[in-house]
Amino acid sequence: MSNDHKVIGKSIPRLDARSKVLGEARYADDLSLPGMLYVKVVRSPHPNARIRSIDTSRARNYPGVISVLTAQDIPGEKLMGPIIKDQPVLCGEAVGYVGDAVALVGAETEQAAEEALELIKVDYEILAPVLDPFKAMEPGAPQVHSGGNIGTHSKVRRGDMEAAFRDATVVVEKRFFYPRVEHAYMEPEVAVVAPDPGGGFTVWSSTQYAHLDREEVSRVLGLPQSRVRVHQMMTGGGFGGKINPHAQCLAALIAWKAGRPAKLRYSREESLISSYKCHPFVMDMKLGANREGKLLALEATLVGNTGAYLLQGKAVITKSATHVSGPYYIPNIKADAYAVFTNCVPCGAMRGYGVPQVTFALESLMDELTGRLGLDPIELRMRNALDTTLPNATGQVMGASVPIKEMLGKAKLTVQSLKPLLQQAPAKGKLRAVGVGCSTRGIGSIRKPSRSTAVVSLHPDGSATVACGHVDLGQGSDTMMAQVAAEELGVDVDRVNVVTNDTAISPDCESTSASRVTYLSGNAVRLAAAKARQRVLEIAAGDLGCAPEELRLMNGSVVYREQGVTLAGLFSKHTFHSVTSVAEFLPDTVPPDPETGQGRPAGTYNFNVHVALVEVDEGTGQIRILRYLALTDVGHMINPLIVEGQVHGGMMMGLGSALMEEVKVENGVTNTSFATYLIPTTFDVPQELLIGVVEEPEPTGPFGAKGFAEGSLDPVGATIANAVSKAIGVRVTRLPMTSERIHELLSQR
């Protein structure tokens, strides 16, 4: 379907790359406004405490200080959050974790603000914290919130568990641990907010969801949403972590109180301590199969530590439960997933959204089964893989674009090609093995249907403006949206301007998350562009006395047989300045039933199969990835260069949580810099990292495309853990696989 496309499927470099290599791209902290104040935040040093009183008098009188604010000064709503609004903008009565915001200072200089923080005296009544989710679920545990410590319970119920496990020849069962992971976007949180002469406010921020900034700032200031305008500045990464506009609300409060522009930028330490993380999971999973290796039953209890606030915890937990059976058909499933409140740093959305966790547990058990059944890992997966007729854990049957078996076939060839490397005697004390991991994920929100809207204006010179609300955080979606519009309108990509970063122009499309942009906004942009084109062709057809189907739009002209009519001429004759069309896309979905998890929660699914060849040092427990293959299913590629970039980035982020990353909490976060929270560097890139893209068009996707950007992370932990387990002969049940942990496992052999 691709051959006659002019721009779809082409590796067009991202449109903002030039401004970025020149250092001209502007991020929020690059902005400075006349009269701008600097904001600093007093944060709780205690995980659980009541606030008896806050004395701000000395800070107020400190030279350079203009405003000091506490919860009682907030003019509007006092709670905020991306989905569940349960986090205090500023804590008034109690604090729930180390890093909770308590008071604000706005001063003429950053230094004065910093110094004044020390002068604010908060009198805390310190209470015993609860940090462990299992302790938090015990009767009599300290209550993080009044409604009990179970924030959410998500279920999947299908079939007859007892009978199925009775029929199973082999049952494997284990407890798995997935770490709390930090997004580690390179740009920490930044917001600049200024009062407008008309009584509203303008926000310039680093954000993953500009319209949520608008919503939250307006709620906190008690203003209509229409009076807040948000400009998303160039954003230095998000990965799920910039969907809670806390910095924006805090800066807005000072701007409101002082009547002056205000900037708040988090230090890296502040970001690491206070920002929400990926949920750490403890997973008890039990999997049964018959002699032929057909999976019969899966039982899982998933406990996610959501920390002090729920934020997106409910949605993350639902996603994990609904993805518990991965890309396999399992007739009988019982899953219970919990988000548990503790006094730890809150957890929320992060690339993967609950899926890497369950993938690690399930894929580990799949390998345990192969051992017991004497089956090849790929063969076992092949026997159970979904196809276009079998339902996933939610009962959803995807009628098309389910290439998992084809991908397994390719993985098999790779595994065979690695044989020589495996058999080649490694250096003494080194153990080598190959591991495989598979995953799937629904594209877009699972918990509720979500709509994208796009506005396309075709101008008389043939150029076009596209307005759509999914901001680009670096992944390249603006460039792909330009490609979609350019293809429909018959123009070059550089004639299309995509505006996603201004809430006064771009319609709200929900956050840039859940791998949804290509699929949802790609469809909306395509439909709107097609509508604009159709309108123009119909008008021209009327003039020419032909059918619209006989006409084409090309480089600003309507082409009829050999002759062309310019849009400029056509528009002027018919009194158009531009032709503007709006379109929406809402996938046909049914959210999972709260009691059974059954539904049709996603418009489309993405699949991944990864293969790793690892080498483990028997002496030190250190792991090296010698070869890695990431097979990705994208439906159809809109931009191969961008696809590659997403897969590389997702894979390496997954490698981080597999091998080294874990946010440690002892009262508060203890790894508070990149010297102690280690993420992969150039040294960690596998010697050979190959990508294989499988294209089986998604009929409901724009040009057959679907989302994939999180998928490249989902199976990484599982894949590497399977390879390492095989190499050392002991099942790895806990990520990350630091050298110390592997060393310990080696000594248990």
């Binding site: 590796s11 790359a17 400075s32 390179m186 740009e187 230095g236 990464g237 890296r268 150039t682 890139v685």
Partner: protein, 160 residues
């Protein structure tokens, strides 16, 4: 705190006389006083490399250098490596190889790579990994960055 020092620095080829505070970092001077905001700030503790600039030929974390220490030095920032709109081969290679995503690490990466290639245009893959090991990138997984630097090295050697 009000004592200032007068320093003389060549920034992107231009000699500037500036008075700086004793605790002012080179990063703060460049970003917040001279408006050279292409130099980024990701940690201010020397752990991320986003603030990398070239001082007298060496790539340094400008958040760890005091402005006074750069007295008499020549400093190159990302704003200073293209000439009249003509991109440096590294800049072009970063675009062509998809080595730019969010772009926050990009200026630092390019300058770290430039200082390597200036010193050793024949740098191999291992040298490149080593030279960039202090520059964190969370978006690209480094693969395309390593490729881009290797390609730029080739261009600089006249290999194309």
């Amino acid at each position: 705190m009000n004592i200032t020092h007068n320093i003389r620095v060549i920034i992107n080829g231009q000699t500037r006389e500036i008075s700086v505070a004793p605790n002012e970092t080179l990063q703060d001077l460049l970003r917040y006083r001279l408006g050279l905001v292409g130099t980024k700030s990701g940690c201010e503790t020397g752990d991320c490399g986003a603030c990398t600039v070239i001082v007298d030929g060496k790539a340094v974390n400008s958040c760890l250098v005091l402005a006074v220490e750069s007295n008499g030095s020549s400093v190159t920032t990302i704003e200073g490596i293209s000439s009249n709109g003509e991109l440096h081969p590294l800049q072009q290679a970063f675009i062509d190889h998809g080595a730019v995503q969010c772009g926050f690490c990009t200026p630092g990466m390019i300058l770290a790579a430039k200082s390597l290639l200036d010193e050793d245009p024949n740098a191999n893959e291992k040298d490149i990994r080593l030279a960039l090991a202090g520059n964190l990138c969370r978006c690209t997984g480094y693969v395309s960055i390593l490729k881009a630097v290797a390609a730029a090295g080739k261009t600089l050697r006249g290999g194309k």
